[in-house]
Each structure stands twice: as C-alpha cells, then as structure tokens.
C-alpha cells in the first residue's frame, strides 16, 4: 500500500473514531470503544473481501498471487467490500440491529474521512468545470470538479442528519445505507472513470436502504 493511500485510510479511521466518540459515548449498552473496534475489524474484512473479489474479476488467482492482496491500488470491489464489511459488523455485534444503528453515523463520518483523504492522495478531481471552486492539477490549466470533496461534504452532512434521527430499530442504519449509496450515485457523473463505475450498484444500494427502512418501520410498528 502506498503511503498516500495509507494516509487516506487513516483519515477514514479518524472519521470513524470521532464519529464513535461523538455519537455513541452516552449509550451505556454499547460503549464507544467496542463499537470502534468492531468498525475497524469490519473495515479490514471489507477491504480484504473487496480486494479478493476485484482480483477474481480481473482474472487473478488470489491463492497463487497472495502477495497481490496487498496491492490495494490495483482495485477493490466497492460492492463486495460493502457486503463483507456490513456482514462482519453484523456478526461481531452479536447480530444486533441496534449496534448497526449506533454505528451508522460514525460509518458515514469514516467514509467522509476516506473521501477527504483524496487531499493526501492527490486524487480529488473529476470532470472539467468552470465553477469558481473548481481547481486544476499541478501544471494543468484545466480546472475540475473536486468530486471527492463533494462526496466528503455530503457524507459528513449525512452523518449529522443520521445522528439526529430517533433511536428506532433500523432507522439510522437504513438511512445511512441509502444516503451513502445515494451520495456516491449523485457524485458519479462528476467522476472520471475507465470502466464506467458501478452506477447501477449504487442505485441498488439506495433501493436496499429504503427497503431496509420499510422493513424496520413495519417491525417497529409490530414489535415481536
């Protein structure tokens, strides 16, 4: 892993840490420390799972090329990483939805930190733009959308919104999932891409988050 990527990852971890401190400390049943540990583990599982799936998709055998797992810059499948991370968090939390709800705003802030890490990676820019806040690469005259900053701001605002939602089972986690997918979907047109980006997966993520909210709403109305 290159150091710039490591700095971006650390910015994401800082976001997670701040989020857990801000929004879970007051709840005795799940202390911030244990949630932060679970989130770190989930992020690690997501990263490895996403990298393995990306390697398989690229035709690289993860067993015979085990060292390539560390070449994160070679690609990580966003969808697989999300599935692995959410699954790991759910399992390590004792399959309790309320832990996912407690962690939800911190996850959004962590994702915001990861996107903000583009500043260390030199990878904030997207499509060309003449807007006053657009900026150019060093040595270039073409100003561009700072698309990763857009995503970071959207996710940070989303974290604040989610933290203020009432503590009903599934409400915060479902909203966070829909918001995270929606913000990626909304910023995708400003990104430059070789393969087109997983736009349909982001749209599916929004639908899944909304479905999650509907199911949670029904469960809250008819508690078992």
């Amino acid at each position: 892993m290159e150091f710039t990527l490591l700095w971006a990852a650390l910015t994401g971890v800082a976001g997670l840490w701040i989020g857990t401190r801000l929004w879970t400390e007051s709840r005795d049943e799940s202390p911030a420390e244990s949630i932060f540990d679970s989130l770190l583990l989930a992020a690690g599982v997501g990263l490895v799972g996403g990298r393995v799936v990306a390697m398989l998709a690229q035709g690289l055998n993860p067993i015979t090329n085990i060292g390539d797992l560390l070449i994160v810059r070679g690609g990580v499948s966003t969808v697989a990483a999300t599935v692995f991370a959410v699954g790991a968090l759910f399992l390590t939390s004792g399959r309790q939805m309320k832990v996912l709800d407690l962690a939800a705003p911190a996850v959004l802030l962590g994702l915001a930190g990861w996107h903000l890490g583009c500043l260390w990676r030199g990878a904030c820019l997207g499509t060309a733009s003449d807007l006053p806040w657009a900026w150019a690469e060093a040595g270039s005259s073409i100003t561009r959308h700072p698309v990763e900053i857009y995503a970071a701001i959207g996710l940070a605002l989303g974290a604040i919104v989610v933290s203020r939602l009432p503590p009903r089972i599934g409400l915060r986690s479902g909203t966070a999932f829909a918001l995270a997918s929606g913000i990626r979907l909304a910023t995708e047109p400003f990104r430059l891409s070789v393969t087109g980006g997983p736009v349909w997966w982001y749209a599916a993520g929004v639908v899944l988050g909304l479905a999650w909210l509907v199911v949670a709403g029904v469960s809250n109305r008819h508690p078992t």
């Binding site: 690289l60 015979t64 070679g74 990878a123 073409i142 430059l192 891409s193 070789v194």
Partner: protein, 156 residues
C-alpha cells in the same frame, strides 16, 4: 464452516493462472528513450506509455485496468508498453496472459524510464499530441489517476 472454506479454496484454485500462450507472438522490438521520444513527437496522438515487467507483481495488478482503458480510449489515445529488465519469453507470456493488445517495446537496460525520469516499476507516462510529457505516475496506477491522466492529454 470447514467444508465452506474447503469449497472456497477449491473454487479459487480452479481460477488458475493462464497457460503460457505467448510464444507465438513475435519478439518485442528494442527501443531507447531517445528513439521513443522522437516517435512520440511524430505520432500526432496523445500517448500513454506504461513501463512494466513480467516479474513485477504490481504490474500484474494494473494490467487488467490497462486492457480496459485500451478498450475505452484506444481510438483516441496511443497505448505503448515498455518492458524493462525482462526476457522476451516471459514478456510475451505476460502480454498474452493479460491480452495487452497494444504496441510493446523491449528495454532491457531501462533506457526509457531513465530518459524521462522516475524510478521503480511500474510507472506510467502521459504525453500530449506534441509528444510533451504531461504527467508521470510512479507505482501502480489506479482507475481514477489513469482516467484523469488520459483526460488531461486528450483535452489539450
């Protein structure tokens, strides 16, 4: 759980590395940094020059992205591979394995990277249509950086 792990391991093993299929390809022509520079100035097209080697793990990791980029931008940008410190046989197998269907040159002595500056393998150079070096990316290139580099040289 053990059964699941066993099944997964077997499934992954089945995705074995591609067979050695490159021996039918012609030998890669040799090139020096100076010769490449003249060629780029005369080409009239923006160019992406990727420095790679068959023994380089990170090159393996970025190869599928280059194949995808060729499919997407091949009509607007020239892609050129520079194989360094390698053998012809290994180089040809690498090209065939990853279907890197663009022009490659053989540079045993690393003349090209030394001419343009930069260290390590892989690295990627972006040239505009006049052959001027616009950007250099050291190490594995990710999708965003590759797309940005290409957009810069195409837009100039």
């Amino acid at each position: 759980m053990k059964r699941l792990i066993l099944v997964l391991a077997l499934a992954l093993s089945a995705c074995s590395s591609p067979a050695l299929v490159g021996q039918d390809l012609p030998d890669l022509p040799p090139i020096t940094g100076q010769e490449l520079d003249v060629m780029l100035q005369r080409s009239g097209n923006p160019s992406v020059v990727n420095v790679w080697a068959s023994w380089c793990g990170p090159c393996r990791a970025e190869a599928p992205l280059l194949t995808a980029a060729l499919a997407e931008y091949g009509d607007r940008v020239d892609f050129i591979g520079i194989d360094v410190q390698d053998s012809q046989a290994d180089a040809k197998n690498f090209i065939a394995s990853f279907e890197l269907d663009f022009t490659h040159y053989f540079d045993r002595d690393r003349s090209v990277p030394e001419f343009y500056g930069g260290f390590g393998t892989p690295m990627t150079f972006f040239f505009d249509r006049t052959g001027t070096l616009v950007d250099t990316h050291l190490g594995v290139i990710d999708e965003r950086s590759l797309a940005l580099g290409i957009d810069e040289i195409v837009s100039r």
